[in-house]
């Protein structure tokens, strides 16, 4: 065993971030490499309001040994095939952002380029008709994808929607079972010291001092360690992502839960609907520049898909991130490290990726600066990729029915996004990148859905015979329809969870 300079890690804050970090570290760090302790206070609630995720969560679950069916039962989870967007480009329209591909290349050429040519010829078929994920979501169907790449049923992926209030305790049981020590208490002060100004300890309300070699700040928006104690600055992105409030409330689930997250653009923000097995999670994300808290709550309550189950809870936030995700001997995970609105369900992904990078880049010695630099570089890429993708939803819109939407339409966006939008608009070209979130199909789904229809298509598409192209596309739709029809309903799939795995 190589001597680790980190003999003890203190995770400050429970919740989804804290307990995900605890499970991951207790599972991935070598046995006895470091003592892991989590400090949380029952007085402090968790922000979690019914979480939607992206497919990466399944890698996390698999890596830490979580059985998917058990996890779904325990957290009353549903399947998520993607996100349904309503009213985002124009009031009354809609589109899907699925986890998976559209069509398949024809003659070696990208499918969305073929689709663009068909449209030029007058074919108005929605590109979603070429996606198994979208078609299954519309028909409320689900079965896990198959691995045979020849099958249409291999072309999609899935994630979960679950109750975050049940996920944290579920993770806690796993972490405690692996030796994580939980300390109840509220942190009242953070002690810095030594010549490098590292965090030495945190002191709890009862006077107890907890020392550690490394700290993981999971204190949510408070960012008690990374932000307050270490004074790591905050990069404010609210000029691009102007929503700064949310109001959330659960409602009675009417009918079967649908296998996707629904997000509906409103006059000054957007509303989410996340169906769980036992209820519907609802929220309204809005901009306080344009809308008061009470009005925002009314918008939500007037548009609930079922009977209200609790009093609305309000949250405030500022889009952005800590300038460094790792400073001194501390990383910020979850909201303590940054906040991006849940429009693309990326919060849990950011927790997961921070923890995974941290284990991979575990310090080799006490003054390790190279692993820290790499961690910060990777997290910067992750946050900025998601940031740009979120801004796309606001910038690319035809809506001008409120001050809010007129601001969004007119705002200047980061160069990195402006360039991607320009390339897509000109000829449907998706600027490729290797690092960070969102593959080309996601860019295609959202760009097209938001009304960025390429002015032209790849001229190579004209090599294809027009009549044959129409036939191939029609056959593909038929194939997808039949494949999806063969799947069980999402409701039947959920019912099968209760039974032992086949």
């Amino acid at each position: 065993m190589s001597q680790s300079p980190i003999r003890s890690v203190a995770i400050v804050g429970g919740g989804t971030a804290g307990w995900m970090a605890a499970v991951a570290l207790s599972h991935l760090l070598p046995k006895n490499a470091a003592r892991i302790r989590l400090i949380e206070s029952e007085e402090i609630g968790i922000v979690g309001v019914g979480e939607a995720t992206v497919p990466h969560i399944r890698n996390f679950n698999a890596t830490v040994g979580i059985d998917e069916r058990d996890f779904m039962r325990e957290t009353l989870a549903t399947i998520k095939l993607g996100i349904e967007f309503r009213n985002w480009n124009k009031i009354g329209d809609g589109y899907f952002h699925p986890f998976g591909y559209f069509g398949r290349p024809i003659g070696g050429l990208a499918f969305h380029q073929c689709w663009r040519r068909l449209r030029e010829g007058g074919d108005q078929t929605d590109i979603g008709a070429y996606s198994v994920g979208v078609t299954a979501a519309r028909k409320r169907k689900f079965a896990p994808p198959v691995s045979d790449p020849e099958s249409a049923l291999s072309s999609y992926s899935y994630a979960f929607q679950f109750d975050a209030n049940l996920y944290a305790p579920y993770l806690r049981r796993l972490a405690e079972g692996r030796g994580v020590l939980r300390t109840e208490g509220k942190v009242v002060s953070v002690e810095l010291g030594g010549e490098d100004g590292n965090i030495q300890s945190v002191t709890l309300a009862d006077g107890q001092r907890v020392e550690a070699d490394f700290f993981i700040d999971c204190t949510g928006f408070a960012s008690l360690l990374l932000g307050k104690a270490l004074k790591t600055g905050y990069e404010d992105w609210s000029r691009w992502l102007i929503c700064d409030r949310a109001v959330a409330v659960p409602s009675v689930l009417e009918g079967d839960p649908f296998p996707f997250t629904r997000v509906i653009a409103r006059g000054h923000g957007w509303q989410w609907q996340i169906p769980l097995q036992h209820r519907m999670g609802n929220g309204h994300v809005y901009s306080s520049q344009f809308l008061g808290a009470e009005q925002a709550a009314n918008v939500l309550l007037d548009n609930l898909p079922g009977k209200q189950l609790a009093e609305p809870r309000q949250f405030r936030f500022t889009a952005g991130r800590r300038a460094q995700s790792w400073a001194k001997n501390c990383i910020g995970v979850g909201l303590a490290g940054g906040f991006l609105e849940p429009l693309e369900s990326t919060s849990i992904y950011l927790i997961q990726i921070a923890v995974t990078h941290f284990v991979e880049l575990f310090p080799t010695h006490a003054r390790d600066s190279i692993n820290r630099a790499e961690f910060n570089r990777r997290m910067e890429i992750e946050y900025e990729r998601i940031r740009d993708f979120l801004i796309l939803h606001y910038k690319a819109t035809s809506r001008a029915d409120s001050e809010f939407w007129r601001y969004c339409q007119a705002m200047e966006v980061p160069d990195s996004l402006a360039y991607k939008m320009e390339q897509f608009t000109k000829r449907g070209y998706v600027v490729p990148y290797r690092e960070g979130m969102f593959y080309p199909p996601s860019w295609i789904a959202v760009c097209l859905g938001q009304g960025l229809i390429p002015e032209r298509y790849d001229p190579q598409i004209d090599r294809l015979d027009g009549k044959k192209l129409t036939e191939t596309a029609s056959a593909l739709r038929g194939l997808i329809d039949r494949a999806v029809d063969s799947l069980p309903s999402h409701a039947d799939f959920l019912a099968s969870l209760a039974a032992p795995a086949a």
């Binding site: 070598p30 880049l361 290797r434 002015e455 032209r456 001229p459 090599r463």
Partner: protein, 478 residues
Amino acid sequence: MSRTQPIASILIAGGGVAGSLAAAAMRRSWGADVAVTVVSPGRRAEPGAVALSLPPLRALHDRLRIDEDHLVASIGASFSLGGHYEGWRDGELFFPFGETGRRIGNVALHQQWKKAWGRGLWRERFAAFSLATQAALADKFARPPRDGANFAPSLAYGLHLPALAYANYLRMLAGRDGAVFVTGTVAAIERRAEDPRLIEAVRLEDGSRLSADLFVDCTGSARVLAGGRDWQASPFAADRQIGFALRREGPLSPYARFTRFAGGWESRAPVAGGVGVRLVFDSKEADPAPRLDAFRGRIVGDPVEAPLDQGALARPWEGNCIALGAASCCIEPLSGLPLLLVQGGISRLMALFPSRDFAGGEAEEFNRLMAADRASAADLPAFLHGAHQRPALAHKVALFAARGNVAGYDDELLEDYHWINLLLAAGVEPESHDLFADLLGDEETLAQLGAQKEAAAKGAAAMPTLDDFLASIRAGRG
């Protein structure tokens, strides 16, 4: 969308490897829809010029439906499993192409190796797992099976292609697909009256005029069409090169040798008929005479000296003219970098093929990608010379030295496994290993390392010599 006018004709200036490869690729992709004309002066003798390729060329050859055996047998090419470097960094190293061994569980092999090595449980270098290294150093070669079941991807290979014969082969292929080859020299360029950024036609010395929609400059450092408009010189010092051919001695080796000397380096690339040698040096520092003397008696023909004009066009695509190969970017011909850049340019041009109005944003994206390719390609000479390393490379090396992790960037020519091979071969040993490697017990790690080492040794032992392999190809049994 107003219907855009398609490109109907392409004129390629330069009939060397870059121009011929571009012509073959265009004709294969576009068939009769696009007329391709190649203008080149008479063939220049370039004794001993051998183009080195890296494994990705195989995919392009597949697309062009080149029968590799036929190509190799026809032009006297040979195979390469990597490069042998002497006098660089830590003395001597072998840099194999392709991934070394296999991951163990979910963890990279080199992490498991480092764990065992660091604990004193394993005493052999990482190269012991490299089938390519083991085979190459024994002068053996076999092509990995197409299905990749056994050796691949650990046996990715490149080619040593006699440049003139390779260009002629591609020319024949492109000609069969309908490309037209014209012998001549461009004397003047006519620009479009309505938009002088666009070339209308070229006039040749014999007075003939050739117009086209799209122009491709493959004339090397002459840059006959592109000119020197925004040439940016490279910081690397080597500015001259001398090429010549050697008579063959001894068995054929499946790798090139790159040997450093004061003020420069020389490459020796074995092919079926001999060895192509190139001296690359800084004319202010190095005297090539003693190097040439060392080869006296084995040199066939006369050595040819030429400038090495290192640098690049900031915008290789301007208007309707695209520079490819050395016309676009001239870099020290280490490993297979120049041909890799040519191939990258061709595949990018195909992916971003424009319409006649050039208004689809293609040039901007092409230039962005080529700039990234150049920066990434320069990482290899920068690392080997230990000079002119960009911050991204310095970070990559330092991060690897900590815990064996590879910092990945968006646009890179070399794969992560190339860096793992190269850094370990060059003696950049990580201080520690990835903690994920500890999820496997030491005993299990040792058993797996042992099995992989044995597989590499056995795999190499079972291969024929490269000479025998080439003989079997010539006999049609490859």
